[in-house]
Symmetry: D4
Amino acid sequence: MKLKQGQKLLFIGDSITDCDRAKPEGEGLFGALGNGYVSLVSAFLTSTYPELGIRVVNKGISGNTVRNLKERWQADVEDQKPDWLSIMIGINDVWRQYDTPFIKEKHVYIDEYMETLSNLVKETKPNVEGLVLMTPYYIEPNPADWMRKSMDQYGAVVRQVAEENNCYFIDTQAVFNHVLENLYPASLAWDRVHPNESGHLLLARAFLNEIGFSWDKGIGEQ
Amino acid sequence: MKLKQGQKLLFIGDSITDCDRAKPEGEGLFGALGNGYVSLVSAFLTSTYPELGIRVVNKGISGNTVRNLKERWQADVEDQKPDWLSIMIGINDVWRQYDTPFIKEKHVYIDEYMETLSNLVKETKPNVEGLVLMTPYYIEPNPADWMRKSMDQYGAVVRQVAEENNCYFIDTQAVFNHVLENLYPASLAWDRVHPNESGHLLLARAFLNEIGFSWDKGIGEQ
Amino acid sequence: MKLKQGQKLLFIGDSITDCDRAKPEGEGLFGALGNGYVSLVSAFLTSTYPELGIRVVNKGISGNTVRNLKERWQADVEDQKPDWLSIMIGINDVWRQYDTPFIKEKHVYIDEYMETLSNLVKETKPNVEGLVLMTPYYIEPNPADWMRKSMDQYGAVVRQVAEENNCYFIDTQAVFNHVLENLYPASLAWDRVHPNESGHLLLARAFLNEIGFSWDKGIGEQ
Amino acid sequence: MKLKQGQKLLFIGDSITDCDRAKPEGEGLFGALGNGYVSLVSAFLTSTYPELGIRVVNKGISGNTVRNLKERWQADVEDQKPDWLSIMIGINDVWRQYDTPFIKEKHVYIDEYMETLSNLVKETKPNVEGLVLMTPYYIEPNPADWMRKSMDQYGAVVRQVAEENNCYFIDTQAVFNHVLENLYPASLAWDRVHPNESGHLLLARAFLNEIGFSWDKGIGEQ
Amino acid sequence: MKLKQGQKLLFIGDSITDCDRAKPEGEGLFGALGNGYVSLVSAFLTSTYPELGIRVVNKGISGNTVRNLKERWQADVEDQKPDWLSIMIGINDVWRQYDTPFIKEKHVYIDEYMETLSNLVKETKPNVEGLVLMTPYYIEPNPADWMRKSMDQYGAVVRQVAEENNCYFIDTQAVFNHVLENLYPASLAWDRVHPNESGHLLLARAFLNEIGFSWDKGIGEQ
Amino acid sequence: MKLKQGQKLLFIGDSITDCDRAKPEGEGLFGALGNGYVSLVSAFLTSTYPELGIRVVNKGISGNTVRNLKERWQADVEDQKPDWLSIMIGINDVWRQYDTPFIKEKHVYIDEYMETLSNLVKETKPNVEGLVLMTPYYIEPNPADWMRKSMDQYGAVVRQVAEENNCYFIDTQAVFNHVLENLYPASLAWDRVHPNESGHLLLARAFLNEIGFSWDKGIGEQ
Amino acid sequence: MKLKQGQKLLFIGDSITDCDRAKPEGEGLFGALGNGYVSLVSAFLTSTYPELGIRVVNKGISGNTVRNLKERWQADVEDQKPDWLSIMIGINDVWRQYDTPFIKEKHVYIDEYMETLSNLVKETKPNVEGLVLMTPYYIEPNPADWMRKSMDQYGAVVRQVAEENNCYFIDTQAVFNHVLENLYPASLAWDRVHPNESGHLLLARAFLNEIGFSWDKGIGEQ
Amino acid sequence: MKLKQGQKLLFIGDSITDCDRAKPEGEGLFGALGNGYVSLVSAFLTSTYPELGIRVVNKGISGNTVRNLKERWQADVEDQKPDWLSIMIGINDVWRQYDTPFIKEKHVYIDEYMETLSNLVKETKPNVEGLVLMTPYYIEPNPADWMRKSMDQYGAVVRQVAEENNCYFIDTQAVFNHVLENLYPASLAWDRVHPNESGHLLLARAFLNEIGFSWDKGIGEQ
């Protein structure tokens, strides 16, 4: 387990991260962490490693692109002084190119995406103990699909930024692809983007694996 | 993994099971399984064993005692023809004795509890492939607390019924006790009964362990 | 124009037809026809052929399969004594197989679909002056997609039933395929099923073309 | 077809244009264009000329007179830099004279109307490729009706401004008059001003005819 | 003043009478008489003739035609045993012919109207001390307007029934015509049918005049 | 009739005047004048003297005392430039002394009341053609009742201010006293302050009598 | 203290008793006893005599007269088998005679009141250990007030029935009269009927005094 | 009775004090004092000592710690110029340490608690005639419970501050302990913090005893 006693773990991202979290704080009781993978990660940590007292904060905002993250980076990341930071961004950067193709100023193309994400990571990496980069994804099994193909390219950018900056890296597309061999997208997400609980659990498990969560801990002791 | 391809797993119980599930069906998309341990169990099964196609049905109803289960047993259990059945009942049987002590006809005392639960189990055991009995619990660390003490006695009844009928058995009180060594009840449940997501995850993990869920399955393959 | 003065045109189907129509009547002022292709067809007929006084009735119900149509056929079709009847059914028959694959009793497989649709058409054809069969569709450009492939098979059934019974026939999948050469599905329907106004207009135009609507009528006269 | 690839078409006006559009943007998915003629025009353009990628923006605001348009012209027209602009204004300028005759400062009399509209058109005409002027209308067949008579005078002003500035011109009153030969006003608009879908379709068709929309395009190709 | 101490005055009719009255009773405090002419009549009687104790009951139902009155005549008129009865019906009988011209089974044509009204009056006249017939009306000044012309014909039927049965008679159309010489319909009723408070006051005054209400009573005494 | 063609009549006061009027304007269609005596006065004027075009404005605000009127006098009276002004204030000045007797800073005692009212009247009288002063009232028949006795004293102040400034004067308490000889207060106002429609009609009639309204006008002409 | 360990105390009455209690049960947690004197009595008993375990049930229904009590006596009193019964009824029996004086069938005059109340008491007295009769009241200090005078007469009936049947008796009017020497009715009840918390506390104290509640019990022990 | 004629008594605290009071004032009719012990104290004073005219003000705010009181002390205490002041604070200071143990900046530890409370008391004591300090409490009978143990320590601080500053002192924990000998916490408060009416009555009685309230006053006089 890579997180240490009393550390603060902050998640930033779009609606997949947000999931109706409490605003502005993004932490506390009564569903303040939303009802997605962030809340599941926190529940796993609290129930399995209660002695560590890991503090989880959710700063996702629905509809955000990397351009929005840049605007609120100082307030929502730097000022929070997290020990660990997890970023999952890019779905809306791509999606707007496909659902409202004529409103071009809302599109974040791949060059801007790469430069902005790279700058944010370089700026913050020295200040945190761990930085996790999660790729955007699209719950569509056909790699030739227009939007899936774009998403894969943005995912490759995330991988490259992670490697250049020595970050933890999670290929969320791969996580979903594995399940899509058996299940049709409609059973996981009504719009191939916003997953149901099964999909969020896949994201949470991938995150926990990356940070060294032990699935066996506590099992059998009870 | 003890469940087989295409089997139906039905949960019955009180508000811990219910968790705002869709009524009357209790299965399907869009939160139909509620937002508690049943939904988590289903999400674990779907995301980890998608090839098995396990069908999960939630028949919990808030406020129920074992007396209520008896009344709706034919419609909500027998008629559903589940392959696996999980029962968690008893919290309200005890709670009413402590929160409304003067309204005695709403109390289900331990003799009625034992006899009713035992009869239901005996009646249905031959018709299912697996039957899981989960004890009631109280998220209170003091074993001398009046209500905790009663709950432990009802839990002992469940253990006895499980043994006599050769059922799977989960001691949920033990699951919570383990965490209460490090955390105060208020961080898990506002009323020491209805847990937050951390608490439901504990229940889901205990259930999955009992049915042979493999935590390593699929990890690393992605 | 194939419809004659004072005739009643009745549409039956699922949510694509329903579109929040008034229930139970399904006709009248103030949005009683819903906000989909049925309402558009009626608006085209009223504004372009006001002298004909065509009466449009909407009997779509969300979530319906052909099995549901059969149950309400007497009340919602036969008793209404329409002069023209239009049927678009089958999307849910297929969709349930993909979004809730484990709940098999909600699936309407292709044999039941064909037999039921065929019987309904045979029963009613003699009583109406015109009967229009519209295929189900899926706003997905990849013909190898699992659900699109199934939908194409159900569409082929509709074509066969139309031919055997000498009905008017509309291949709605072809209508959408044409636009999907230029637009990604996300710009037409959030779930590839329920279209926005552009999609409903495509359905309305296809229907109007089939019944001999003249696009030039009235243009220039004003 | 007079609009070219990638152009932006902006509509400004009163409640007939507004129709519950998203504010402040007035474009995007999920009904952002409202549910009136603007949305229909957009749906026709998207479904019939998907390859052109015409971007439609709705800047109508309920209750507006030409005096209000003048106040928000810079922000809602000039700053938007549309390629094409369509203006339909004047109904409230007249209506207030008849429904609240004693509140005279809310009346916009014909001299102010002409001067304001003329100035706005002169100011913007050089900056757009096409400018369409639609007359106000009143869905009342009796030309001697007080309010209809006034509306006709305001309509004549629009015609004059269009001619002086070489704009496209649509006589919406004539469009409705044609249908009123067969239908009573109550079947088109509860207050003779706000039309139902049939009425909005008439406005949309008149607009599309004026900009060279081809009704046959795509028909038969599918 | 023709009403005597302690008498019950019952109004029946359509939405003009209903005006959101309490249902089913239609009398009592807190707006139970609705907010239209019935409530005004009651307020005039109570405030000017408090010593008479006239009891007013409102049995109007929105959307009713004379066909509906016939169906509920026993329960809502005969069983109530009023001393005085006032009937205003016919607007919807006519209106449906103009706003939904194609749905013919909802139209009540003039022969049915005359026969039904006449029978109801003949049946009840012997049982009441006073029976007031109010014509339907249309707040449209043009006598050549299609719907106004029809309404005048129905109004003539009411006059004839009143004369044949020796009833009190109120020509409500004449009441509105008088004001329409100075005011446009839009200032009295958004749809030329449902009047604002000025219009309801006109109806109340016409009714009160017919029953011998003294406008000077009590003035000067205070 | 003392009001002349095109004049503006403004009412200011407390909740009796307010009656849920539109804010901030207090005039226009759709109930903008509230549902009390102001709306009734306007309806009487519009329906009986439509040719005069009297414009009525309601500036009542619930809970106001004369202290509040002073604060908003410039904006709500002077800036509105009415031709006629009607003031009814004082009920809350007295009421707070009886319903919350211990919160003394909310009480407006009689000296402050007299001075403030007198100043407002003196300031505005020269700018209007007519100024009507209506006393506060209490719908309680017992003159020895504590609150009724106070209200009578405040009413005497209004009479004195009216006389000193040559204003029109209405003794609203006398109006109610007349009816209270026959009716118990509970049938007019649930709290002896806020009247039902009968009570508001009494106020409206007293006002209209004072300004020379002719009850016979138009009667018989129709 | 006259109540004994484990006894059930049932209150029946009108809105003063009801106070938004849970229906149909009228007992339990979370405000089930309403927010009036019944809830206060229960809170006093529970907090001061917790060892007695007195069970309080509220069967008040707003608007009830003694005529309504008779209709539901079997279900709401007899079937509940209370040990102690408290009745407070009569306010609506009187009130309807004053707030809706013309609707005479809703009035319960004093003969019917006496006979009905007397019969109910005679029927039930033998079945309970204690029966408390509380008079109706009117929070009006003037004994010559019409409605107060009637209420006093109904109160005298209650006293007589209590004496004849050897019941406990509470003169609630006297309780309020005492406070009205210092406070105006408006500070206790907006309509002189429904008291605020001060008024309900007066009723609760009077009841507790009658049943031998000891105000000193437990004070000083803590 | 220690309070004198016309004095103002102000309560400040957290949610136990707040109880949904009117904000910002915290006094007046219609539940402005909330529905907890403050409202009960006021009702006791008003109903038993109406001649004293004690004015009660509630300035509790849910969730407050002593840190919050300090921030609003000037506005909510000093500026209000109370004659008597009652403070009950500390529950949230402790609770946050147990329900959200990882969010440490929201915890108010005992040193800060003592210093802040002590300073506020010293600052205000000279300006008031009476100052009452109520301890925080926890409705948990087990003195070894983690949170109960902390609460007892904070309560001891309050006792010490009271003694050092010569304040009135109420040990609320002792009040609840007395009842917990007979009742389980669940029957008094769902979360062992927010009491039902029985619990608030206990607090009110303890307060009234401390200020010399006479339980016998007025009893017997009625």
